[in-house]
């Protein structure tokens, strides 16, 4: 039935529609450069969504946990074999995405007789020097974009734009880690709330709030409601970390010390 080109295009379109539906209730992921590295943040329930891939590479994901695991293992194998056979400095986020994971996602997406990967990925690479960071977002169809200051994953392109606009307005490049953590957490709240509003058909009413002029108190209240039974995951690629591996998770205590009083009160 897919021999005719237009049938195939229709099938791919249906698949896109199906996949978009799968992310509606996913938890957004935020990646943001700070003065000494890159912060990744999300809010999860049970399964972690932030991972160490290689010495300077971290991964965040949205979607089906089994698909995320499969692609994570592919990335880990690629990165470690390449790092062993050549050198750790040859394992770059750009190579892992462009020649590793993106073709796999594209092929799975277009093979309409097989199940696609229900995932969106964010690969963060810590540059050797400040300002040389790379943030790559990869969509379920294998398309990817590269930036250096901030990147996000969310249910739709429009929600992602809302979050990015908020981040650009709230967290200037080269900010401290404390300010970056607070900004990333609020950006998560902006994204999660926008997703929920879209779900309930309230997006038009609140469209004005997508310009970066969010009320912090309101966002703190929203966080209190949404994060109470979940875990705030915070991972760092920290240039000052000793040894070759630059990845580490922020502990609950560290996170508590970094958040401003209003957010800390909202989450305690």
């Amino acid at each position: 039935m897919y021999e005719e080109p237009y049938k195939w295009v229709e099938a791919v379109g249906n698949r896109r529609h199906y996949l978009d539906e799968q992310f509606k209730e996913g938890s957004p992921v935020v990646a943001l450069a700070y003065d000494a590295g890159i912060l990744l943040l999300t809010v999860s329930k049970g399964t972690p969504k932030l991972y160490e891939i290689y010495d300077r590479l971290a991964l965040g994901g949205m979607g089906h946990p089994a698909d995320l695991e499969k692609l994570r293992f592919s990335l880990l194998e690629m990165a470690h074999v390449e790092g062993f056979n050549r050198s750790p400095s040859d394992v770059t986020g750009s190579r892992m995405v462009k020649y590793g994971i993106a073709p796999i996602l594209k092929q799975a997406f277009e093979e309409v007789f097989k199940a696609p990967f229900i995932v969106k990925l964010l690969m963060a690479e810590l540059g050797a020097k400040a300002g040389k960071n790379s943030l790559l977002t990869i969509n379920y169809d294998g398309t990817f974009e590269e930036t250096s200051h901030c990147a996000v994953l969310a249910a739709t392109q429009s929600v992602q734009e809302t979050m990015l606009q908020f981040l650009r307005g709230q967290v200037p490049e080269g900010s401290s880690l404390d300010r970056t953590v607070a900004g990333a957490l609020l950006a998560w709240a902006v994204g999660d709330r926008a997703q929920r509003r879209r779900e309930t058909g309230q997006q038009d009413k609140h469209e004005k709030e997508t310009t970066g002029s969010e009320d912090p108190a309101e966002l703190a209240g929203y966080l209190r409601e949404r994060v109470s039974d979940k875990t705030i995951e915070c991972a760092l690629l920290d240039r000052h970390e000793r040894g070759s591996s630059k990845y580490r998770m922020l502990t609950v205590d560290e996170l508590g010390r970094m958040l401003p009083p209003d957010l800390k009160a909202a989450l305690s």
Binding site: P48, Y51, E52, L76, H80, V81, F84, R242, G243, S245
Partner: protein, 255 residues
């Protein structure tokens, strides 16, 4: 659930060591001196810097005390090419395990990984092209203590309850360590970080005095042994500037 990096490498055609016929009876050279002992805060592990080929000094700045990860160190005696390769395999194996399984490999698991590499390297070791006799030391998070293990070339592992030595200079200092530990002012395990470092410098200087394959301190070239400290906080390398100061005040006047 794939967590074994070495297996992954082998599936891709990798082979550790040079294929060789076993049992040709060639002497096994281990021209070096490495040592480890427990002190008050953890384990000190140290090694000289000389690399030799027969009676030739090949290099005087070799690093034979290598950090495998944040909590473990392998000091190498034997054929450098194979030893460095083993450290590279272990380094990637431990990282790969941590990143795939989202938890650290246990200390026991790390010991087994090295033992496995040594066993697979036996043919090369016996043919005289790849013998490695390492010391492995690290912090065991489960037992909350730093530990020392030493190996033979066949991969058998032995715990150095108080200390371990390896390499051509080891017979010289093994007796000294026994003497100091048994009849000295205090046992090695009671020594402070500074006392332990002074002891290590004296031991390696003694080894260099009697073993031409062990490099001593060269103050003109600012060349000191490598000394690493393993504690609950991780692995720390003692900086040359501190070694220089300790050597000049506590070691040099005695030689």
């Amino acid at each position: 659930m794939h967590s074994d990096f070495y297996q992954l490498l082998k599936e891709q055609g990798y082979q550790l060591g040079v294929p060789a016929t076993a049992g040709s009876g060639v002497d096994i050279p281990t021209a070096t001196t490495i040592l480890a002992f427990k002190y008050r805060d953890g384990v000190l592990i140290a090694g000289d810097r000389r690399a030799t080929a027969g009676n030739m000094v090949m290099y005087d700045r070799t690093d034979k005390v290598l950090e495998v990860d944040r909590h473990s160190v392998m000091a190498i005696a034997g054929v450098p090419a194979t030893a460095y390769e083993m450290v590279r395999v272990l380094e990637h194996s431990f990282k790969y395990y941590r990143r795939t399984q989202l938890q650290e490999l246990s200390f026991e698991g790390k010991l087994r990984a090295l033992s496995k590499l040594l066993k697979e390297n036996v043919p090369a070791a016996l043919s005289g092209t790849g013998a490695v006799v390492p010391i492995f030391a690290g912090y065991d998070a489960e037992q909350e203590t730093a530990k020392i293990y030493f190996y033979d070339i066949l991969g058998a592992e032995f715990e150095g309850v108080e200390y371990a030595v390896s390499g051509s200079g080891s017979p010289t200092i093994r007796g000294i360590m026994h003497y100091v530990n048994t009849w000295g002012d205090q046992p090695l395990q009671a020594m402070s970080e500074e006392q332990a470092a002074v002891q290590a410098l004296r031991l390696l200087t003694s080894a260099a005095e009697f073993d031409s394959a062990t490099g001593g301190v060269n103050r003109e070239a600012n060349l000191y042994p490598i000394i690493k400290l393993i504690t609950a906080a991780g692995v720390d390398t003692m900086p040359d500037v501190r070694l220089k100061s300790l050597f000049e005040t506590k070691v040099a006047r005695h030689v």
